[in-house]
Symmetry: C2
Subunit: 109 residues, 2 copies
Amino acid sequence: MLVTSTFDVVGEPTRRRILDLLREGPRPVGELVRLIGCSQPGTSRHLRVLRDAGLVAVRPEAQRRLYVLRPQPLAEIDAWLTPYRELWANRLDALEQHLDDLDAQKMED
Amino acid sequence: MLVTSTFDVVGEPTRRRILDLLREGPRPVGELVRLIGCSQPGTSRHLRVLRDAGLVAVRPEAQRRLYVLRPQPLAEIDAWLTPYRELWANRLDALEQHLDDLDAQKMED
DNA sequence: TCGGTATATGCCTTGACACGTATATAATCT
DNA sequence: AGATTATATACGTGTCAAGGCATATACCGA
């Protein structure tokens, strides 16, 4: 990933799973390894990517390292989603919407 | 992509750009090619992926093919995002933000 | 039917990522 | 200091996706 954006970071299912688990509170690596059934090195690598994206922070606790969720970067995705949200909320797909717009234009003439 | 989910489909920046353009209304392939500066075959392949994910539909119009946005699958991302939305919203008040910042200093990556 | 336009697909190369194994680093305890 | 636990990184590998180029397909006008 040359330009790592929040989108492709959470595009990885395992990383989404990690975030979901961290929503319940900080967890050490070993616990994540056990819960997601990924290898320890693999988990550490995913955590590295999440940390680089600002989605988690790490806090040393004795020999272990507690990972903590930092959800702010997800706001970027939320922002991108915003204009689409209205579209499916109206239960209209863009084609119908467009046709409606055309009708509206004709009526204005 | 073995298990193509909506997440990795919109993880691609060019595809997000295509969706953004289709929000304004249906467009033929050639126009998308011109607007996003991607090759014609490349654009067609991205459209193929979007179509397989149910994010666009196609409507033949003479020799051209009009692509239309179908935003419903994006609701999956929106749903995943929902529990996080409260989290970053709660961190908007000044006190918690300040405490977060202190934590961030201690955690230091 | 022929030529031109619009779009899709096949083939190939390249690069990036996820994963596993092994090893390094760090902290703790005796 | 040595042993043990917890986590990170290095290295090699297989896989898969994206891009470019060439070509196939489909539709249209003359």
